[in-house]
Protein backbone atom coordinates (compact mmCIF):
# COMPACT_ATOMS: atom_id res chain seq x y z
CA UNK A 1 0.00 0.00 0.00
CA UNK A 2 1.61 3.28 -1.04
CA UNK A 3 0.93 6.59 0.71
CA UNK A 4 -1.42 7.94 -1.96
CA UNK A 5 -3.98 5.14 -1.77
CA UNK A 6 -7.30 5.63 -0.04
CA UNK A 7 -8.06 3.62 3.15
CA UNK A 8 -9.68 0.24 2.33
CA UNK A 9 -13.13 0.94 3.81
CA UNK A 10 -13.18 4.25 2.06
CA UNK A 11 -12.12 2.77 -1.28
CA UNK A 12 -14.92 0.22 -1.04
CA UNK A 13 -17.39 2.92 -0.20
CA UNK A 14 -16.31 5.29 -3.00
CA UNK A 15 -19.19 4.41 -5.30
CA UNK A 16 -21.64 4.54 -2.43
CA UNK A 17 -20.38 7.97 -1.38
CA UNK A 18 -20.96 9.31 -4.90
CA UNK A 19 -24.42 7.76 -5.03
CA UNK A 20 -25.34 9.14 -1.56
CA UNK A 21 -24.11 12.61 -2.55
CA UNK A 22 -26.07 12.62 -5.79
CA UNK A 23 -29.17 11.31 -3.99
CA UNK A 24 -28.86 14.05 -1.36
CA UNK A 25 -28.58 16.75 -4.02
CA UNK A 26 -31.51 15.28 -5.95
CA UNK A 27 -33.78 14.94 -2.89
CA UNK A 28 -32.91 18.33 -1.33
CA UNK A 29 -32.93 20.05 -4.72
CA UNK A 30 -36.44 18.73 -5.45
CA UNK A 31 -37.61 19.74 -1.96
CA UNK A 32 -36.18 23.25 -2.37
CA UNK A 33 -37.76 23.59 -5.81
CA UNK A 34 -41.20 22.52 -4.54
CA UNK A 35 -40.86 24.80 -1.52
CA UNK A 36 -39.81 27.68 -3.81
CA UNK A 37 -42.86 27.35 -6.05
CA UNK A 38 -45.17 27.19 -3.03
CA UNK A 39 -43.38 29.65 -0.75
CA UNK A 40 -42.78 32.50 -3.19
CA UNK A 41 -46.41 32.87 -4.41
CA UNK A 42 -47.60 32.65 -0.80
CA UNK A 43 -45.07 35.35 0.13
CA UNK A 44 -46.42 37.57 -2.67
CA UNK A 45 -50.01 37.07 -1.45
CA UNK A 46 -48.84 38.11 2.03
CA UNK A 47 -46.77 41.02 0.73
CA UNK A 48 -49.66 42.66 -1.13
CA UNK A 49 -51.83 42.65 1.99
CA UNK A 50 -51.79 45.08 4.85
CA UNK A 51 -51.67 44.12 8.51
CA UNK A 52 -49.94 40.77 8.08
CA UNK A 53 -47.54 41.19 11.01
CA UNK A 54 -49.13 38.31 12.95
CA UNK A 55 -48.98 35.87 10.02
CA UNK A 56 -45.44 36.90 9.09
CA UNK A 57 -44.35 36.44 12.73
CA UNK A 58 -45.84 32.92 12.77
CA UNK A 59 -44.08 32.06 9.50
CA UNK A 60 -40.80 33.46 10.83
CA UNK A 61 -41.07 31.42 14.02
CA UNK A 62 -41.62 28.26 11.93
CA UNK A 63 -38.24 28.82 10.25
CA UNK A 64 -36.48 27.49 13.31
CA UNK A 65 -38.70 24.46 13.91
CA UNK A 66 -36.56 21.51 15.06
CA UNK A 67 -36.31 18.95 12.27
CA UNK A 68 -36.89 16.05 14.66
CA UNK A 69 -40.21 17.57 15.74
CA UNK A 70 -41.27 17.99 12.13
CA UNK A 71 -39.96 14.51 11.35
CA UNK A 72 -42.04 13.08 14.18
CA UNK A 73 -45.21 14.87 13.02
CA UNK A 74 -44.66 13.72 9.45
CA UNK A 75 -43.97 10.17 10.68
CA UNK A 76 -47.42 10.07 12.28
CA UNK A 77 -48.91 11.56 9.14
CA UNK A 78 -47.29 9.04 6.77
CA UNK A 79 -47.39 5.92 9.00
CA UNK A 80 -49.81 3.16 7.97
CA UNK A 81 -52.41 4.19 10.54
CA UNK A 82 -51.88 7.92 9.86
CA UNK A 83 -54.17 10.13 7.75
CA UNK A 84 -51.81 9.92 4.73
CA UNK A 85 -50.84 6.27 5.30
CA UNK A 86 -52.72 5.19 2.15
CA UNK A 87 -50.09 6.99 0.05
CA UNK A 88 -47.42 4.47 1.19
CA UNK A 89 -44.82 7.22 1.29
CA UNK A 90 -43.09 6.34 4.56
CA UNK A 91 -39.43 5.35 4.08
CA UNK A 92 -39.31 6.55 0.49
CA UNK A 93 -37.25 9.39 -1.06
CA UNK A 94 -40.57 11.09 -1.89
CA UNK A 95 -41.40 11.25 1.83
CA UNK A 96 -38.08 13.01 2.50
CA UNK A 97 -38.76 15.43 -0.37
CA UNK A 98 -42.19 16.27 1.08
CA UNK A 99 -40.77 16.59 4.59
CA UNK A 100 -37.87 18.82 3.57
CA UNK A 101 -40.18 20.94 1.43
CA UNK A 102 -42.44 21.46 4.46
CA UNK A 103 -39.34 22.36 6.50
CA UNK A 104 -38.06 24.85 3.95
CA UNK A 105 -41.32 26.58 2.95
CA UNK A 106 -41.34 28.94 6.00
CA UNK A 107 -37.71 29.92 5.34
CA UNK A 108 -38.35 30.69 1.66
CA UNK A 109 -41.61 32.41 2.54
CA UNK A 110 -40.16 34.70 5.17
CA UNK A 111 -37.11 35.74 3.13
CA UNK A 112 -39.18 36.18 -0.05
CA UNK A 113 -41.80 38.12 1.91
CA UNK A 114 -39.24 40.74 2.93
CA UNK A 115 -37.81 40.97 -0.58
CA UNK A 116 -41.24 41.24 -2.22
CA UNK A 117 -42.55 43.69 0.37
CA UNK A 118 -39.63 46.05 -0.35
CA UNK A 119 -39.95 45.51 -4.06
CA UNK A 120 -43.71 46.15 -3.99
CA UNK A 121 -43.14 49.37 -2.09
CA UNK A 122 -40.81 50.67 -4.80
CA UNK A 123 -41.69 48.92 -8.06
CA UNK A 124 -45.33 48.12 -7.29
CA UNK A 125 -46.15 51.77 -6.69
CA UNK A 126 -44.03 52.76 -9.69
CA UNK A 127 -45.92 50.30 -11.92
CA UNK A 128 -49.26 51.76 -10.79
CA UNK A 129 -47.93 55.27 -11.48
CA UNK A 130 -47.03 54.17 -15.00
CA UNK A 131 -50.48 52.69 -15.64
CA UNK A 132 -49.81 48.98 -15.13
CA UNK A 133 -52.54 46.40 -14.57
CA UNK A 134 -52.31 44.15 -11.48
CA UNK A 135 -50.69 41.40 -13.58
CA UNK A 136 -48.19 43.83 -15.16
CA UNK A 137 -47.38 45.12 -11.68
CA UNK A 138 -46.75 41.58 -10.41
CA UNK A 139 -44.51 40.81 -13.41
CA UNK A 140 -42.42 43.92 -12.76
CA UNK A 141 -42.11 43.17 -9.04
CA UNK A 142 -40.93 39.60 -9.75
CA UNK A 143 -38.61 40.77 -12.55
CA UNK A 144 -36.93 43.31 -10.30
CA UNK A 145 -36.57 40.93 -7.34
CA UNK A 146 -35.70 37.64 -9.06
CA UNK A 147 -32.10 37.60 -7.81
CA UNK A 148 -33.21 37.97 -4.21
CA UNK A 149 -35.85 35.28 -4.69
CA UNK A 150 -33.29 32.98 -6.27
CA UNK A 151 -31.05 33.53 -3.26
CA UNK A 152 -33.89 32.54 -0.92
CA UNK A 153 -34.38 29.32 -2.95
CA UNK A 154 -30.67 28.49 -2.65
CA UNK A 155 -30.85 29.20 1.07
CA UNK A 156 -33.73 26.72 1.22
CA UNK A 157 -31.62 24.06 -0.54
CA UNK A 158 -28.80 24.65 1.92
CA UNK A 159 -31.17 24.14 4.88
CA UNK A 160 -32.68 20.99 3.33
CA UNK A 161 -29.40 19.30 2.41
CA UNK A 162 -28.00 19.77 5.91
CA UNK A 163 -30.97 18.51 7.95
CA UNK A 164 -30.99 15.10 9.63
CA UNK A 165 -34.20 14.62 11.61
CA UNK A 166 -36.65 14.35 8.73
CA UNK A 167 -34.40 12.23 6.51
CA UNK A 168 -33.84 9.81 9.38
CA UNK A 169 -37.39 9.57 10.74
CA UNK A 170 -39.41 9.39 7.54
CA UNK A 171 -36.65 8.26 5.17
CA UNK A 172 -35.46 5.40 7.34
CA UNK A 173 -31.83 5.58 6.10
CA UNK A 174 -32.30 2.61 3.75
CA UNK A 175 -29.12 1.75 1.80
CA UNK A 176 -29.22 2.64 -1.91
CA UNK A 177 -32.74 4.04 -1.48
CA UNK A 178 -33.23 6.74 1.16
CA UNK A 179 -29.72 7.10 2.57
CA UNK A 180 -28.57 10.71 2.25
CA UNK A 181 -25.38 12.45 3.40
CA UNK A 182 -26.55 13.42 6.88
CA UNK A 183 -28.05 10.00 7.71
CA UNK A 184 -24.99 8.23 6.26
CA UNK A 185 -22.68 10.36 8.44
CA UNK A 186 -24.73 9.55 11.56
CA UNK A 187 -24.68 5.83 10.73
CA UNK A 188 -20.97 5.85 9.88
CA UNK A 189 -20.09 7.41 13.24
CA UNK A 190 -22.25 4.91 15.14
CA UNK A 191 -20.46 2.04 13.32
CA UNK A 192 -17.02 3.55 13.88
CA UNK A 193 -16.44 4.17 10.13
CA UNK A 194 -14.99 7.61 10.60
CA UNK A 195 -13.14 7.95 7.28
CA UNK A 196 -16.21 7.68 5.06
CA UNK A 197 -18.15 9.89 7.50
CA UNK A 198 -15.42 12.50 7.30
CA UNK A 199 -15.43 12.43 3.50
CA UNK A 200 -19.23 12.81 3.43
CA UNK A 201 -18.99 15.56 6.05
CA UNK A 202 -16.40 17.37 3.92
CA UNK A 203 -18.60 17.08 0.82
CA UNK A 204 -21.55 18.44 2.81
CA UNK A 205 -19.50 21.37 4.08
CA UNK A 206 -18.18 21.96 0.53
CA UNK A 207 -21.78 22.08 -0.78
CA UNK A 208 -22.72 24.52 2.00
CA UNK A 209 -19.70 26.75 1.23
CA UNK A 210 -20.44 26.68 -2.51
CA UNK A 211 -24.07 27.59 -1.78
CA UNK A 212 -22.92 30.45 0.40
CA UNK A 213 -20.54 31.71 -2.32
CA UNK A 214 -23.33 31.58 -4.92
CA UNK A 215 -25.55 33.49 -2.48
CA UNK A 216 -22.88 36.15 -2.02
CA UNK A 217 -22.45 36.54 -5.80
CA UNK A 218 -26.21 36.80 -6.26
CA UNK A 219 -26.39 39.22 -3.33
CA UNK A 220 -24.17 41.70 -5.18
CA UNK A 221 -26.77 41.99 -7.89
CA UNK A 222 -29.74 42.34 -5.56
CA UNK A 223 -31.30 45.79 -5.44
CA UNK A 224 -34.24 46.88 -3.34
Amino acid sequence: MNGYELPRDLKMAEEEIISITLRSIWISGSAALIAFFIGVPLAYVLAIRRRVELISSIVESLVGIPTVVLGLLLYFLFSRSGPLGFLNLLYTPQAIIVGEAVLVIPLIMSTSFRILRNSLHIYGEFAVAMGATEVQKMILVFRESYLGLLASGIMGFSRAVGELGIALMIGGNIKDFTRVMTTAIALGVSKGEFESSLVLGSILVFIMIMTSIVLKIIGRGVRY
Partner: protein, 227 residues
Protein backbone atom coordinates in the same frame (compact mmCIF):
# COMPACT_ATOMS: atom_id res chain seq x y z
CA UNK B 1 -60.14 64.02 -19.14
CA UNK B 2 -59.80 67.69 -18.25
CA UNK B 3 -59.74 67.94 -14.50
CA UNK B 4 -58.93 66.00 -11.33
CA UNK B 5 -60.86 67.35 -8.34
CA UNK B 6 -60.14 66.49 -4.74
CA UNK B 7 -63.10 67.00 -2.41
CA UNK B 8 -62.52 67.10 1.35
CA UNK B 9 -59.68 64.62 1.18
CA UNK B 10 -58.16 63.21 4.37
CA UNK B 11 -55.27 60.78 4.39
CA UNK B 12 -53.15 58.93 6.92
CA UNK B 13 -50.79 56.00 6.49
CA UNK B 14 -51.90 52.64 7.86
CA UNK B 15 -49.02 52.53 10.38
CA UNK B 16 -49.67 56.02 11.72
CA UNK B 17 -52.36 57.77 13.73
CA UNK B 18 -51.60 61.25 12.43
CA UNK B 19 -53.39 62.71 9.45
CA UNK B 20 -50.94 63.54 6.67
CA UNK B 21 -53.59 65.44 4.71
CA UNK B 22 -56.45 67.26 6.37
CA UNK B 23 -59.59 68.19 4.50
CA UNK B 24 -57.93 69.04 1.20
CA UNK B 25 -60.11 70.39 -1.60
CA UNK B 26 -58.45 71.49 -4.81
CA UNK B 27 -58.22 70.63 -8.48
CA UNK B 28 -55.60 69.96 -11.13
CA UNK B 29 -56.41 70.83 -14.73
CA UNK B 30 -55.06 70.25 -18.20
CA UNK B 31 -53.63 73.29 -20.06
CA UNK B 32 -52.22 74.55 -16.74
CA UNK B 33 -49.01 74.36 -14.76
CA UNK B 34 -49.69 74.01 -11.04
CA UNK B 35 -46.99 74.26 -8.41
CA UNK B 36 -47.32 72.69 -4.97
CA UNK B 37 -45.05 74.59 -2.61
CA UNK B 38 -44.27 73.51 0.91
CA UNK B 39 -41.49 72.46 3.28
CA UNK B 40 -40.30 68.86 3.55
CA UNK B 41 -42.86 66.70 5.33
CA UNK B 42 -45.75 69.07 4.61
CA UNK B 43 -47.72 66.42 2.67
CA UNK B 44 -46.85 67.43 -0.91
CA UNK B 45 -45.84 63.94 -2.04
CA UNK B 46 -48.93 62.35 -0.48
CA UNK B 47 -51.14 64.95 -2.15
CA UNK B 48 -49.43 64.28 -5.49
CA UNK B 49 -49.93 60.52 -5.07
CA UNK B 50 -53.60 61.01 -4.24
CA UNK B 51 -54.04 63.37 -7.17
CA UNK B 52 -52.32 60.94 -9.50
CA UNK B 53 -54.66 58.18 -8.28
CA UNK B 54 -51.97 56.01 -6.68
CA UNK B 55 -53.31 56.36 -3.13
CA UNK B 56 -56.97 56.12 -2.19
CA UNK B 57 -58.01 58.80 0.31
CA UNK B 58 -59.14 57.58 3.74
CA UNK B 59 -61.95 60.16 3.64
CA UNK B 60 -63.21 62.34 0.81
CA UNK B 61 -63.56 61.84 -2.95
CA UNK B 62 -61.60 62.22 -6.16
CA UNK B 63 -63.52 63.27 -9.25
CA UNK B 64 -62.21 62.87 -12.77
CA UNK B 65 -64.30 65.48 -14.57
CA UNK B 66 -67.64 64.40 -13.06
CA UNK B 67 -66.86 60.76 -12.28
CA UNK B 68 -66.10 59.56 -8.76
CA UNK B 69 -62.83 57.71 -9.56
CA UNK B 70 -62.74 55.27 -6.63
CA UNK B 71 -66.27 54.04 -7.31
CA UNK B 72 -65.48 53.10 -10.94
CA UNK B 73 -64.79 49.51 -12.02
CA UNK B 74 -61.20 48.33 -12.55
CA UNK B 75 -61.29 48.70 -16.33
CA UNK B 76 -62.56 52.30 -16.21
CA UNK B 77 -59.98 53.10 -13.53
CA UNK B 78 -57.18 51.74 -15.71
CA UNK B 79 -58.26 53.79 -18.73
CA UNK B 80 -58.23 56.97 -16.62
CA UNK B 81 -55.01 56.07 -14.82
CA UNK B 82 -53.23 55.72 -18.15
CA UNK B 83 -53.91 59.37 -18.92
CA UNK B 84 -52.00 60.45 -15.79
CA UNK B 85 -48.38 59.87 -14.86
CA UNK B 86 -46.60 60.43 -11.56
CA UNK B 87 -42.81 60.78 -11.46
CA UNK B 88 -41.20 59.89 -8.13
CA UNK B 89 -38.82 62.28 -6.39
CA UNK B 90 -36.29 59.47 -6.05
CA UNK B 91 -36.03 58.07 -9.57
CA UNK B 92 -37.07 54.43 -9.89
CA UNK B 93 -34.63 52.74 -12.22
CA UNK B 94 -35.42 49.33 -13.67
CA UNK B 95 -32.96 46.65 -14.75
CA UNK B 96 -31.71 47.09 -18.29
CA UNK B 97 -30.60 49.94 -20.51
CA UNK B 98 -31.79 53.54 -20.50
CA UNK B 99 -33.97 52.81 -23.55
CA UNK B 100 -35.49 49.78 -21.79
CA UNK B 101 -36.42 52.09 -18.93
CA UNK B 102 -37.90 54.79 -21.12
CA UNK B 103 -40.10 52.46 -23.16
CA UNK B 104 -41.53 50.70 -20.11
CA UNK B 105 -44.80 52.69 -20.05
CA UNK B 106 -45.30 52.34 -23.81
CA UNK B 107 -44.74 48.58 -23.63
CA UNK B 108 -47.38 48.39 -20.86
CA UNK B 109 -49.76 50.07 -23.28
CA UNK B 110 -49.07 47.45 -25.93
CA UNK B 111 -46.68 49.40 -28.17
CA UNK B 112 -44.46 47.44 -30.51
CA UNK B 113 -40.81 47.51 -29.33
CA UNK B 114 -39.41 49.09 -32.52
CA UNK B 115 -42.00 51.88 -32.46
CA UNK B 116 -41.40 52.44 -28.74
CA UNK B 117 -37.63 52.69 -29.24
CA UNK B 118 -38.11 55.26 -32.02
CA UNK B 119 -40.23 57.37 -29.67
CA UNK B 120 -37.62 56.93 -26.92
CA UNK B 121 -34.95 58.44 -29.17
CA UNK B 122 -37.19 61.44 -29.90
CA UNK B 123 -37.50 62.14 -26.17
CA UNK B 124 -33.81 61.50 -25.52
CA UNK B 125 -33.00 64.00 -28.28
CA UNK B 126 -35.34 66.56 -26.75
CA UNK B 127 -33.62 66.18 -23.39
CA UNK B 128 -30.18 66.14 -25.10
CA UNK B 129 -29.14 62.83 -23.58
CA UNK B 130 -29.06 60.57 -26.65
CA UNK B 131 -25.58 59.36 -25.73
CA UNK B 132 -27.03 57.57 -22.70
CA UNK B 133 -29.43 55.44 -24.78
CA UNK B 134 -27.75 52.06 -24.37
CA UNK B 135 -25.98 52.66 -21.07
CA UNK B 136 -26.81 50.37 -18.13
CA UNK B 137 -29.45 52.43 -16.31
CA UNK B 138 -28.23 51.33 -12.88
CA UNK B 139 -24.86 53.03 -13.52
CA UNK B 140 -26.28 56.54 -14.08
CA UNK B 141 -25.74 59.55 -11.82
CA UNK B 142 -28.62 60.98 -9.76
CA UNK B 143 -29.20 63.80 -12.27
CA UNK B 144 -29.13 61.44 -15.25
CA UNK B 145 -31.52 59.06 -13.46
CA UNK B 146 -33.91 61.96 -12.89
CA UNK B 147 -33.82 62.84 -16.59
CA UNK B 148 -34.52 59.20 -17.52
CA UNK B 149 -37.43 59.23 -15.11
CA UNK B 150 -38.78 62.40 -16.76
CA UNK B 151 -38.22 60.98 -20.25
CA UNK B 152 -40.23 57.91 -19.25
CA UNK B 153 -43.16 60.19 -18.35
CA UNK B 154 -42.83 62.57 -21.31
CA UNK B 155 -42.89 59.74 -23.85
CA UNK B 156 -46.41 58.78 -22.68
CA UNK B 157 -47.84 62.26 -23.41
CA UNK B 158 -50.19 62.08 -20.38
CA UNK B 159 -53.10 64.49 -19.95
CA UNK B 160 -51.75 65.49 -16.55
CA UNK B 161 -48.21 64.84 -15.39
CA UNK B 162 -47.27 64.94 -11.69
CA UNK B 163 -43.58 65.66 -11.08
CA UNK B 164 -42.38 65.27 -7.50
CA UNK B 165 -39.40 67.60 -6.87
CA UNK B 166 -38.19 67.25 -10.48
CA UNK B 167 -35.43 69.85 -10.14
CA UNK B 168 -33.75 68.42 -7.06
CA UNK B 169 -30.80 66.75 -8.86
CA UNK B 170 -30.61 68.98 -11.93
CA UNK B 171 -28.07 71.71 -12.64
CA UNK B 172 -29.08 75.26 -13.73
CA UNK B 173 -29.04 74.52 -17.48
CA UNK B 174 -31.05 71.34 -17.13
CA UNK B 175 -33.57 73.13 -14.91
CA UNK B 176 -34.12 75.82 -17.57
CA UNK B 177 -34.38 73.14 -20.25
CA UNK B 178 -36.96 71.23 -18.21
CA UNK B 179 -39.03 74.36 -17.54
CA UNK B 180 -39.12 75.04 -21.30
CA UNK B 181 -40.23 71.46 -21.97
CA UNK B 182 -43.01 71.78 -19.37
CA UNK B 183 -44.22 75.01 -20.98
CA UNK B 184 -44.38 73.19 -24.30
CA UNK B 185 -46.36 70.39 -22.62
CA UNK B 186 -48.85 73.05 -21.48
CA UNK B 187 -49.04 74.49 -25.00
CA UNK B 188 -50.02 71.01 -26.17
CA UNK B 189 -53.11 71.37 -23.93
CA UNK B 190 -51.78 69.02 -21.29
CA UNK B 191 -51.34 69.75 -17.59
CA UNK B 192 -48.36 69.63 -15.25
CA UNK B 193 -48.33 69.52 -11.46
CA UNK B 194 -44.93 70.13 -9.87
CA UNK B 195 -44.03 69.88 -6.21
CA UNK B 196 -41.12 72.00 -4.96
CA UNK B 197 -39.78 73.22 -1.64
CA UNK B 198 -37.61 76.08 -2.97
CA UNK B 199 -39.67 79.25 -3.14
CA UNK B 200 -37.16 80.79 -5.56
CA UNK B 201 -38.18 78.34 -8.29
CA UNK B 202 -41.77 79.62 -8.43
CA UNK B 203 -40.84 82.72 -10.40
CA UNK B 204 -38.77 80.72 -12.89
CA UNK B 205 -41.59 78.23 -13.48
CA UNK B 206 -44.23 81.01 -13.54
CA UNK B 207 -47.13 78.61 -12.96
CA UNK B 208 -50.83 79.22 -13.59
CA UNK B 209 -51.62 78.13 -10.01
CA UNK B 210 -49.61 78.05 -6.83
CA UNK B 211 -50.83 75.89 -3.95
CA UNK B 212 -49.02 76.39 -0.67
CA UNK B 213 -49.23 73.49 1.74
CA UNK B 214 -48.11 73.15 5.34
CA UNK B 215 -48.75 70.41 7.93
CA UNK B 216 -51.12 68.63 5.58
CA UNK B 217 -53.32 71.68 4.99
CA UNK B 218 -53.61 74.09 2.09
CA UNK B 219 -52.72 77.49 3.48
CA UNK B 220 -52.89 79.51 0.29
CA UNK B 221 -53.96 79.18 -3.35
CA UNK B 222 -52.81 81.79 -5.84
CA UNK B 223 -53.59 82.11 -9.54
CA UNK B 224 -51.15 83.42 -12.15
CA UNK B 225 -52.20 87.11 -11.78
CA UNK B 226 -51.57 87.07 -8.02
CA UNK B 227 -48.28 85.17 -8.36
Amino acid sequence: MNMISLKNVWYKYSNSREWVLKNISTSFKTKEITVLLGPNGSGKTTLMKIGSLIYKPVKGSIYIDDKDYWSLDDHEKLIIRRTIVYVHEKPVILRGSVVDNIIYGLRLRGFDKREAVEKAFEVLKELEIEELAYRDASQLSAGQSQLISLARALILKPQIMFLDEPFSHLDKNRRTKLINILRRVKEEDRGVVISIHEEGLVEKISPDNLIEIENGEIINIKTSQKI
